[in-house]
Each structure stands twice: as structure tokens, then as C-alpha cells.
């Protein structure tokens, strides 16, 4: 299928060029002495009094050149390698909600929720990797992600995604993954991906930097995800949002490159505008959809793996707004060539996760993946001979050709109704959320991912205890 585009080639080049100028002239605030010293040693113009780093164009270009265009994501057991980058599509559940919607009420996330979400995601065929769906808040905050990591490793074999809140947390996660895989260097064993965000406009806080640096040192692929808030932390115009985003991303790319060359970096984005009437950030407006498309275009221009949040919604309950926003955000991202799509299972602008929604999102994703699979035109699929054989006024229900393509040409829904009114009433008469809830119960009751070894369980628990005793 042809891709969606909102920018011309010239416009992309202009955004790229202006980004280089901003990096070189305005610079980026780096709130960490060690990083500033490292940058200074590598030819970055550093103003130590103002913590400001001005990046020369040549260094940015070098980082772009040496960054891998793709990498292989592995599952927990170092198997099922999947290429990330190029035309590939990788769908990830998650990511870092605060609440879980249960019986219409917002409840604070728990470790058990993380385990349950991982279990459900492990069952869903369109979900390729599993992110921390909700931040557990029933354990000490400084080690909450370590508890989450254990719960995920124990309940799914799929590749994992983390967005460590602190450098401390990143260190803990790296230690768990190194111990679990038995690898000192994770560059060739990508079973997890990290994410880190600068603070817009044009600032790297110490902890975000720490996450990026720990990730690069360990060889873990990192999604660099600037989140300029249009009109608040970037100029209000969409072109400027892209520009601020891109400059921030490139600064992160250079830092990662200088820490360790050749570690995969993902061109990430969480497009957010600021609704000036409600005074709230919004991730599923038409502008954010145009931004998703533009972002994918720029990422592809660089040839880097592209990430974007989707499917998303700003609705707070299972209503029509939720459904259409989920579909349009995902379809836009999918159709513009994004490689990694994170946020399945969430709504309320990323504040709420829902078991039912994760199952519903899998359905939406399956539907839309079939759309972009397109239509295959060959001698076999045109079936000219068959049309001749059956002839006018015949039918095709009893043909081998029909049988051959019956299960591969079409997508079959898991939840959506396709029965006639009578049959629907007879079968259940239930709406999609009720049906999703039943699936959730089934998955939680019946599914069990291959278990971790007792030794691994013990080792991970020891690491968690060790970090729990430390102050972050």
C-alpha cells in the first residue's frame, strides 16, 4: 500500500536542516556534569556555566551514519528473532498507566495487575512485545519497575519494554536482565528495549540522561522519545513541534553514540498537543495524527527504526470516542510506516489501562493489519479459469479454490459481531466490552507461560531485595 504523507521531501529536509542549526546555535541544556565533560571531550561546544551543549553538525551526521538501521528483537528465551526497522511492524502492549479501570472505577496499579496484563498479552496474537502496562504502586516506588520486570518475565515469553523512571531503576533492570540472560553485554541479545525522554524544550534531566546512558552502556536498544507539548513546551505550530522534537531526538542520538557506538536507537515520539480550553494534554486529536504521519516520514528519511504511540484515546470510558480514536491513531501510524507501535490496552490519555481494552485493541489491530496486507493479484487469485468453469449463474461455495483461500485471504474477528440479529441474540446478545471481559477471564484462568527456573526466580528476587535496601 502507498504510505500516508503530510510533508514533502523539501519540507523534511528543511526540518532536518533547522534542527542542526538549533543544535549548533541554541544548544541543549544537559543537567549532568559527567555527561557535559564527555561531550566536551568529543568535540561538543560546552558552556559549563550554563550547562549548555552546542552540537556541531558533523557529529550529528556521524551519529546518524553509525546508528543501526535495524536490529533483531528476541523473546525472553533468546528465540524468535524479529527484525525491527525497514518495513517491519512490531506492536507492543503497555505503557506505564497509573490506574487500572475495574468495574468502572480507577484503581491504582499493582504488581498483580502487571502480571495479569503480561499474561493476557502473551495470549494475544497481534501483540508482539509486552510493556509495563501499569506502574505497580503496592511496592516501594524506587523498585516498582524491578517488581514489574519479575512479574513480566514470569508471565510472558515476549520481548519486554521499559521506560525506567530513574537511573537507579535502569541499573536494577540492567542487572536483572544481565543475570537472567547470563550475558555481560546485551548488544547481541536484545530481549528488552528501554525508553528515555528529554524534557522539552531542549533539556536533558539527570535521570533521563542516566537511563539513556545505562541503556547504551549495556548495549540495550533505546527508544528516544521527546514529548514537546504544542503551545506549552514548544511553539504552538505543528511544524515547530516537529522541529523541537527532532532537535531533542538528535541530541539524544549523539549522546548514545558517544557513550557507545552501534547501539540501536529508535526514533520515538508521543505526539501531544495542549488543549487550551480544558488545559489538558491530548494524544488523539487530528493534529496528533498528522504529527504521527510527519514523524514517521522524518524517521524514514533518517532510515532509523521508528516508534510512535498508538492505538490511543483521550476518552475515559468504553464509548464511541474511544473506539474511533483508537482506530484512527493506529491506522495513521501503521499506514505511515511506523515500526514500533506502543500503547495497546490504554486510554484516558495514557493514564488508565484496562484488561478489556487490551483484548479489544488486539481485535482492532488484527482488523487494520489485514487492511494494509492489501490485495494479492496473481493468476491463482484472479481465478480466470475458475470463473470460466463455474460460468454464469453458478456459485463458488463448492470449489477447491474457495477452500484453498478460505482461511488465509480473510481476517476472522475474535470479538466483533457478525451474526444476524436473531443469531446474535441467541448466542449471547452481548456487547463487545462484555465479550472482551469474558476473554480476559478465560486467558487469566487458562494461560500459563513456560515457567522460569527456580534458580532464575531466586536470583531475580535477590537483586530486587538488594536494590530495595538501597536509596534511589
Amino acid at each position: 500500500m502507498s504510505r500516508l504523507e503530510v510533508l514533502s521531501k523539501e519540507e523534511i529536509k528543511r526540518i532536518h536542516g533547522e534542527s542542526l542549526t538549533i543544535l549548533e546555535e541554541t544548544g541543549v541544556k544537559i543537567l549532568d556534569e559527567d555527561t557535559l565533560r564527555m561531550l566536551s571531550r568529543s568535540g561538543v561546544d560546552v558552556d559549563f556555566n550554563n550547562n549548555l551543549a552546542r552540537f556541531p553538525e558533523s557529529l550529528v551526521k556521524e551519529a546518524l551514519r553509525s546508528c543501526p538501521k535495524s536490529f533483531i528483537a528476541l523473546n525472553r528465551d533468546k528465540e524468535n528473532g524479529v527484525k525491527i526497522g525497514g518495513d517491519s511492524i512490531y506492536i507492543v502492549s503497555g505503557f506505564y498507566a497509573s490506574y487500572v479501570l475495574k468495574g468502572g472505577k480507577r484503581m491504582r496499579g499493582t504488581v498483580e495487575d502487571v502480571a495479569n496484563f503480561a499474561k493476557i498479552a502473551d495470549c494475544l496474537k497481534n501483540i508482539n512485545a509486552v510493556g509495563v502496562e501499569v506502574l505497580p504502586q503496592d511496592v516501594p516506588a524506587h523498585v516498582s519497575e524491578l517488581y514489574a520486570c519479575y512479574a513480566m518475565l514470569d508471565n510472558t515469553t515476549k520481548h519486554l519494554f521499559f521506560s525506567p523512571n530513574t537511573q537507579f531503576s535502569a541499573k536494577g533492570l540492567v542487572e536483572i536482565i544481565k543475570t537472567f540472560t547470563g550475558e555481560e553485554d546485551l548488544l547481541k541479545t536484545q530481549i528488552v528495549t528501554f525508553q528515555s525522554s528529554p524534557t522539552s524544550p531542549l533539556t536533558w534531566e539527570r535521570d533521563s540522561l542516566g537511563v539513556l546512558i545505562e541503556s547504551s552502556k549495556a548495549g540495550i536498544s533505546c527508544n528516544i522519545l521527546p514529548e514537546p507539548l504544542a503551545g506549552a513546551t514548544s511553539p504552538i505550530t505543528l511544524a515547530a513541534v516537529l522541529l523541537v522534537h527532532n532537535a531533542e531526538f538528535l541530541s539524544g542520538l549523539v549522546i548514545s553514540h558517544l557513550v557507545r557506538k552501534g547501539v540501536p536507537v529508535i526514533y520515538g515520539y508521543s505526539p501531544t498537543i495542549f488543549d487550551m480550553r480544558e488545559v489538558s494534554p491530548i494524544i488523539a486529536s487530528p493534529e496528533t495524527i498528522a504529527l504521527r504521519i510527519a514523524h514517521a516520514q522524518i524517521g524514514r528519511f533518517y532510515g532509523l527504526p521508528v516508534h510512535c504511540i498508538a492505538p490511543d484515546s483521550d476518552a475515559h470510558c468504553h464509548d464511541e470516542q474511544l473506539a474511533w480514536e483508537k482506530i484512527i491513531t493506529f491506522f495513521a501510524a501503521l499506514n505511515s510506516g511506523v515500526n514500533i507501535l506502543i500503547n495497546s490496552g490504554m486510554f484516558s490519555t495514557g493514564l488508565v489501562a484496562s484488561y478489556e481494552q487490551l483484548v479489544i485493541d488486539d481485535e482492532i489491530i488484527g482488523f487494520l493489519l489485514r487492511v494494509i496486507k492489501g490485495i494479492e493479484v496473481t493468476t491463482e487469485t484472479l481465478a480466470v479459469d475458475l470463473i470460466r468453469k463455474v460460468g454464469p449463474r453458478g456459485h463458488f461455495l463448492n470449489q477447491m479454490h474457495t477452500l484453498r483461500h478460505l482461511r488465509t485471504e480473510y481476517w476472522f474477528p475474535e470479538l466483533s459481531n457478525r451474526a444476524t440479529y436473531d443469531n446474535w441474540l441467541r448466542k449471547s446478545g452481548k456487547d463487545i466490552v462484555t465479550k472482551a471481559r469474558e476473554k480476559v477471564s478465560k486467558y487469566l484462568k487458562e494461560h500459563k507461560a513456560p515457567e522460569l527456573s527456580q534458580e532464575n526466580k531466586r536470583k531475580i528476587q535477590e537483586i530486587i531485595k538488594k536494590f530495595e535496601k538501597m536509596k534511589s
Binding site: L397, N398, L403, Y421
Partner: protein
């Protein structure tokens, strides 16, 4: 010998379950050649296969074309076995007689024909009146054949009332309590069946067989 017999039955059953008419024919020929009881071959071989397929269809695990192809495989095998039945002067007891047709003004026959193949595969004798059948023709045939069940198909909203008209004509002729009436087709529904006084409605061919069996008191 015992082993041979179970293999023959298994081949017949599998041919139907694999929607394979050619295999069904071969298995039937083999059964005849080895002197196997043709009635048993139909009832415990082919029919078992179609029962499995019908159940899978109801569960949504196989699809309509597979159901049709399975019924066709059943038919291919049955034809050969029935020749043998006649040759030996044996008898296959039919489950019942069904007169079926698409009502006047409606020329749609795919759905009706699927119902017919499933009924035949399940052991019913079916008298097919075809499509665009005038109401008088339905009445005449019911009088003449005295079937257990009359089936009427209507795809169009404009032709569905014809089903009601025929039921009324049956009543007027004093024949309504002598025959069970089942309706089907895209324009019809359970509530439509109630409205016009039909005995049953079926949404698909497998359900049609089930409902017809229930109407005439045959246990599954």
C-alpha cells in the same frame, strides 16, 4: 477382518471430514469390493463424518464452503453405496420426507440447495420444488407426497409474505396440522416464523437439519 472393517469405516468418515469427494468415492468402491455391508458403510462411516462436520460448523470451527464440500463428498460416496444397497435388495430407512422450495417471486437457490444437501447427507428424502415456486404448487405437492416437513425459503423482504400466505392456504385446505412447516432465508427470522405461524425457523443448513429432526421427534 475386524481391523479391515474399522479401516473401511474410518476411510469413509475421513473422506467426508476432509471435504474430499474423490476419496469418498474411492472409499465407497473399496467398501463394495470387500463385501462390506453398504447400509452400515453409510450409517457408521459417511454419516459419522457429516455429523462431526455439522458439529464443527456450529462451533464456528469450520466454514460454509467446507460444510458444502463435506456434504458433496458424502453424496459422492452415498451414490456408490446406494447402488449396492439396491443390488442386494436391502433398504436404507429414511429419517423422513421433506418437500422444499423457494417461494414465488424469488429465484435464490444457493441457500436452499445447501439445506437440501445437508438433509440428504443426514438421511432425509428430499423433494425439491426448485425456485420461484407458486403457492398452489406447494399445496399440491404436500397433498400428493404427504411429507413430514415443508420447507420454504425466501431471500427477499418482498417475497417473505408468500411464506405466510402458503401457511394460510394450508390452514384453509385443512392440511396445516398434517405437516410441519419450517422457514429460512435472509428475509426471515425467528420472530417472522412466529408471526406467520410456522413451526420453526433455521438460520443455516446445520440448524435446519437439527430443527427438522426435533419437529418430527428424532433424537440426535
Amino acid at each position: 477382518m475386524e481391523k479391515d472393517h474399522s479401516r473401511i469405516l474410518q476411510n469413509l468418515r475421513k473422506a467426508v471430514e476432509e471435504f474430499d469427494a474423490e476419496k469418498a468415492r474411492e472409499a465407497a468402491i473399496e467398501a463394495v469390493k470387500s463385501g462390506f455391508d453398504p447400509v452400515k458403510a453409510i450409517e457408521e462411516g459417511l454419516a459419522k463424518g457429516i455429523k462431526t462436520i455439522g458439529d464443527l460448523f456450529e462451533k464456528g470451527e469450520i466454514f460454509l464452503p467446507e460444510l458444502i464440500m463435506a456434504a458433496e463428498a458424502m453424496k459422492a460416496g452415498t451414490q456408490i453405496l446406494m447402488d449396492e444397497v439396491r443390488k442386494r435388495g436391502l433398504n436404507v430407512k429414511k429419517l423422513g420426507k421433506v418437500v422444499i422450495g423457494t417461494v414465488h417471486g424469488d429465484i435464490h437457490d444457493i441457500g436452499k440447495n445447501i439445506v437440501i444437501s445437508m438433509l440428504e447427507a443426514s438421511g432425509f428424502k428430499v423433494i425439491d420444488l426448485g425456485v420461484d415456486v407458486p403457492a398452489e404448487e406447494f399445496i399440491k405437492k404436500v397433498k400428493e407426497v404427504q411429507p413430514d416437513v415443508l420447507g420454504m425459503s425466501a431471500l427477499l423482504t418482498t417475497t417473505a409474505p408468500e411464506q405466510g400466505r402458503i401457511i394460510k392456504m394450508l390452514k384453509d385446505a385443512g392440511m396445516r396440522d398434517k405437516v410441519n412447516v419450517i422457514i429460512g432465508g435472509a428475509a426471515t427470522s425467528e420472530s417472522w416464523a412466529n408471526e406467520i405461524g410456522a413451526d420453526a425457523y433455521a438460520a443455516d443448513a446445520v440448524e435446519a437439519v437439527k430443527k427438522i429432526k426435533a419437529l418430527i421427534g428424532i433424537k440426535e
